[in-house]
Each structure stands twice: as structure tokens, then as C-alpha cells.
Amino acid sequence: MSQRIVIDPITRIEGHLRIDVEVDGGRVQNSWSSGQMWRGIETILEGRDPRDAWIFTQRICGVCTTVHAISSVRTVEDALGLEIPLNAQYIRNMILIAHALHDHIVHFYHLSALDWVDVTKVLQADPRRAASIAEGLSPWRRNGYREMAAVKDKIQAVVNSGQLGIFTNGYWGHPAMRLSPELNLIAVSHYLQALEYQRKANQAVAILGSKTPNIQNLAVGGVTNAINLDNQATLNMTKLFTVQNLLKEVAEFVQQVYVPDVIAVGSQYPEWLGYGAGVTNYLAVPDLPLDAAATTFDLPGGVITNRNVAGVRRIADWNDAQFRERTVESIDRAWYKGSWSRHPYEEETVPDYTDFQDNGKYSWVKAPRLDGQPMQVGPLAQVLVGYATGHEPIRRWTDAALSQISSMAGAQVGVDALHSTLGRHAARAIRAAVLSELAPKHWQLLVDNIGSGDTDIFNEPVFPKGEIRGVGMHEAPRGTLSHWAIIRDGAIANYQAVVPSTWNAGPRDERGQMGPYEASLVGNPVADAELPLEVLRTIHSFDPCIACAIHTADPEGHELSAVNTVNSCG
């Protein structure tokens, strides 16, 4: 007899991500990933001025504001064939780096660390031992006894007050939790410190973007940060030095805390380097352009199919013909009218809701495909592509991480182990480390360029009569993001956003091929069907962001996640 487990996180009006798995013999046999919300943002943009589109797309998702803003201006610039000034390129790059660092830190510590860390065990920890272990893992200056003892006291105080709140995740004492009390204490102390560094990264975005969470400084054709190094009201040296210092502090945290923590946790759960691979086709697009015309980049792009990392096909720039021409979205299993696979330029968005049908339509998320294949996107895709194409910082950080995991786990762990649940966490930490090194580089590029006397920030867009088309690409924290627009007589005629979580969380297609979330769950162990912690571990490793729209406070009702287990025969 198999059991059906439904993890439906939100019971309010518009739901988010729902995961169904069938478990038999302690393993997942089948799975479905379903987005429980219709967005239809495209319809809002029709007829609007393309220069305003980014202000709207920035509001698609409250967490991914910056990335949708950047992709949108790039889309219109691509359609116009419009280059942007070097200063604008570097300022955008700095914002993207700071945002990504912020996002990766929040993901690991505040969204997923509690899948691996059991906070109650902190109370059994010896702070002196914890400090000595932590000091052996990293030179981080805030790993001392005082810090550890203070965190233990804080947790004790919270437990005593009965206000467990944030840590009441229901999975304490789960048999799949295995860290020692001391490692739990170290992780919780870093969990709290991570909040400070999240704020610092956010401050850097706010200074460059004029505001967060919704930045104000973009324009089709460049940025609006007037540059005058001696003027209080503009982007000046004082502001630039503040940004430099903030990002330096964030870089230290990433390199000395985040990366070692992922390695330490990973070495305690080595079997999770064997679960969760799923779809082993990967896609990443190049980002952080180094010139005005975007011909060279600091982050690599490429396509890997069927686990064949060595056989990577490089995506050199944003003119890549395969990505531009062979990206489609399938609605065969999604709640839209019909059963087509279409290029984003040719899509229409006509909802057609049925019930949740295992063998029919079951999700609001479409299923993107590249050359007919599902693709996994995200930091793992970019790290594998970079590793295969000899990207120096990615190779260096990856080799160092794998060798440390190997020595701590007492077994040889190679690149192949990255096709896994923990591999996605490791890759995200590696990407964060690489970005933390690129931050001072792009800061220097900007300062040197301004120093050469160039203060240009904007090239005026001019819209032709007739139809133009463009795609804006961005390698966002959750992976490849693309916006696609048709502009007719200077107004938007069609707009589609193919977001990272669509690639990863999408349903099956007309050929029955599962999406990455679905495929990654099959074969995973589930020790206790009432508490399917293992399913959450794998889904969280993708850094899901399905919601991107509805938010309603709910102090009265049930905002809580529901885990329903249903017995079913056959």
C-alpha cells in the first residue's frame, strides 16, 4: 500500500506551491509539483510604454524585485539594440551582486538551515566545545566562547518565555536530524549573525538603487544615478566608499561563515550528496557584462545535458541562438486553454482551471523547455557550467569545498556529487563566494571609469514605428530569468516572463517529462510520512519562489502549512 503526502503550504485564497508525493516502502515513488496561483501579469503590461514596464515587473514578486526590474530594462534595450554606458553597466552589476549575496545568505540561513539544524539541541551544547570546533573550521572572529554562550542563553530565554515561534517547525527530534549539539549551536549563532550581514548587503543595494526593496535608479538606456564625486546629492565618493565597506563585510561573512557552514553541515549528511539529482540538464546564462555592448561577462553561461558536464555547450553572450529560438513553454499539464508548446513571443495566457488531475492538468505554472528538454536552473547550473568551462574562481572555490567535504566525511567526494540536494546548497555557497570576490572588482571598474572622466549614465531610447522584439536575460539568484517582449509602435504588444522557478517547479510536458522539482523527489527516503522533512529538504535546496504575488497577513486564520497524508491503495 502506498501513501500519498500532500504538502500544501498555504490555505488562504491564493495558494503557492503544492507538492504531492506517493511514498511506498519508505521511498518516494511519484511526485507532482503544482503552483496554486494564477498571476497573469502579462495582461497588465499590454499597451503600456516599454520604458515603464520595469516599474510594474518589479512588483511581480516582493522578494525578487531587483531581478525583474533589471530583466525588463534589458528586454527593451535588446529590442532596440541599445547599448548602455559603462557606468550604468557597472552600477547595475554592483546592485545585482549585492542583491544576490543578500538573497543567498537569506536562503541558506533563514529559509533552509532549519531543515538540517535542530534548535532544541542547542540547550545541550557545551559553548566552550562549540567555540573550539568553530575556531577549527574558520578564522571568523565571532566564533568565540562568549558569542556561543550568549546565543545559548538567548535560546534558553526564548524557550523559557514559551515564545518559540520561529523555531517551532515541528521537526525537532526528527530521526533525520543528526548534527551534534555543538554544531547546532554554531549554526544557530551564525543564523542570528546572518541577519546583520543580510542588512549590510541590503544597505548597499539601497545606496546604489536609491531605495529598497523597490529600486528607483533604473531606466531603459542606463541608470539615473547622476555621478559627481564632490556633490552630496549624487553618487559621490562617500557613498561609493560606504558601499565598498559594506560589501567587504558581507564578503568576509560569506567566505568565513557561510561556505564553512555548508561544508560542515554537508559533511554530517553525506547521503544527501546522493539524493535529489532529478533533472540533470542544466541551463545558465552569462551575466555581469564587462563592456557597454555586453560581449564579455564575469559569470559564465552554458547548457549541460544528461549529466554530461564535460560536454558543456558554452553560451558566450545574450545573442545565443539556441536559447533565443529554442525556448518554449508547454501548457499540456497546466491550467491554460489548449495543449501547445510555444515560444514566449507566440504565447497567450488564457486560464482553464480544472481540478488537480494526476494525469491531466494540475498546475498554474507552465513547463519551459529548451530544445524539448526540461532544464534545471540555479547556482548549481552556473557552477557546473563554470567548472566545465574553466572559470577560475568557480573552479578554485569548488575544488576547495569538495576537498574539505571529502576530508570531513572521510570519503572522496567529486564534482559528480554536486548533482544532489546538498550539491545545490554547496553550489549556492560557492556562487556567493565567487560573487563576494567580484564585488570589489566591479567597484574598482566603476571608480576607475569615473576617474577617467566618464560620467555618462544614460543613452536615450528611441522607438521606431512598426514591430520590434527583444529578450532580456539575467542569471538571478534562483537561476536563469528571461523577459520576452513584442513592442509595436512604441507600446507593449506582448510580454512574457519565464522565471527560474518556472523552469524548476514546472509540471510535466506533453511527453510526460517531469520538471526538476518532481524528478528530484523520486527515490528520496521519507522516514515518517507525517513529518516529511526529507521532501522539504530537497524542495528547499532549489530556493523556491513560486509565490511572487499574493501576500496577506493572517493573525486570525490558518496561514500555516498543512501536511496531509492520505492512505491510498495501489
Binding site: I13, Q163, I166, Y171, E556, E559
Partner: protein, 182 residues
């Protein structure tokens, strides 16, 4: 001086979920921002709320609230109402935000000691739709509650010398377009 942060939460592109930003922007258009007070339209930031709230002595939140009451009903909640229920595992970064944020800040010693959530029951979440009539009618009473709280906390509220129109850009552009098309 008491540092007070007033925030509007919600997605402006999805019908009544725009209530928070709508009310916040209306308040900011009518009143000067007093010293020590900051008005922020934050959208739906999930845990990114943390940096915007950290260190404030008092917090006032304008947001839609799922409640068993007719659309447009205005209800107030205090800190203890918000942290009463423990959150559960998240599956994405949007999920329960306010309660989690407050507890994280509590552990850091940076949580506001006074909180007022002015909540309004929504009617519909249609993409691109303006506020429903019921929720629009709740904007003025909700703002009045926020102002009463600001004054109770010691802020001196002054109406702007020249009333500025509220910056409801997401509705304004739509109506311009409709006018042009008509």
C-alpha cells in the same frame, strides 16, 4: 525621540492586496513625515522586512488581513496577536513574514516594542484590478487609526501645506491608458 516606522504591505498588481501601499501613499501625501517617523511602501518583501523594521521602537503596519468578516472591515491587532502562533516550515521565502520577522528581531534585541497592525478584510485579488469599493472605503478609517497611534506615541502630525495627490501610480497609469483608448 521614539523611532516609528509606518509600513504598507501588499502587492499593488493584485487587486485589494494593494491596500497597504495605497493607504501608506495616501497618508504620506496628506501629512508631513514627522521627525523620527518613516513611511515605507514595502510591497511583499518576505523576510526582507527585517532590515526595514530593525531598530524601530514602534511599528505601524497597514495590510490586508484574512479575517472572518465582510470585505472592508477594519481591525487592529497588537504585537501579542501577531506572535501568538508559531510559524511552521516554509516552502518559499514569502511565507509567514510578519510573525517570523518579529521573532527573528526579538532574538537580536532589535524588535519594536510597540506594534499596531491596521488590517482590512479584502474582497478580491484580480490581477491589475483597482481596489474594490469596500476596501477603498476602508482607507480613510484605517489612516485615522494609524494617525491616532502615531499621536499616542508622541509624534506631532501636520497636514501638508499643499495637499499633494497620492502617488497611486499603478492605478493612475491604467486609467490614463483607458482614457487614451476611449
Amino acid at each position: 525621540m521614539t523611532a516609528i516606522t509606518v509600513i504598507g504591505l501588499g502587492n499593488v498588481l493584485t487587486g485589494d492586496d494593494a491596500f497597504g501601499p495605497y493607504a501608506l501613499n495616501t497618508l504620506a501625501a496628506q501629512y508631513d513625515e514627522p521627525d523620527g517617523v518613516s513611511f515605507c511602501d514595502l510591497g511583499t518583501p518576505g523576510l526582507d522586512l527585517v532590515p526595514h523594521i530593525a531598530g524601530a521602537d514602534a511599528l505601524i503596519v497597514l495590510d490586508t488581513v484574512k479575517m472572518k468578516a465582510p470585505a472592508g472591515t477594519v481591525r487592529c491587532y497588537r504585537k501579542e496577536d501577531l506572535v501568538a502562533r508559531g510559524p511552521t516550515p516554509r516552502t518559499n521565502p514569502h511565507q509567514p513574514t510578519l510573525a517570523d520577522t518579529l521573532l527573528l528581531l526579538e532574538l537580536q534585541g532589535l524588535a519594536p516594542s510597540e506594534i499596531l497592525l491596521v488590517g482590512v478584510a479584502p474582497e478580491r485579488y484580480d490581477t491589475g484590478a483597482p481596489l474594490s469599493a469596500a476596501v477603498r472605503a476602508a482607507v480613510a478609517p484605517a489612516i485615522a487609526l494609524a494617525i491616532a497611534e502615531l499621536e499616542r506615541l508622541g509624534a506631532t502630525m501636520h497636514l501638508r501645506d499643499e495637499a499633494a495627490p497620492a502617488d497611486i501610480w499603478w492605478e493612475a497609469v491604467a486609467s490614463t491608458r483607458a482614457a487614451a483608448a476611449g
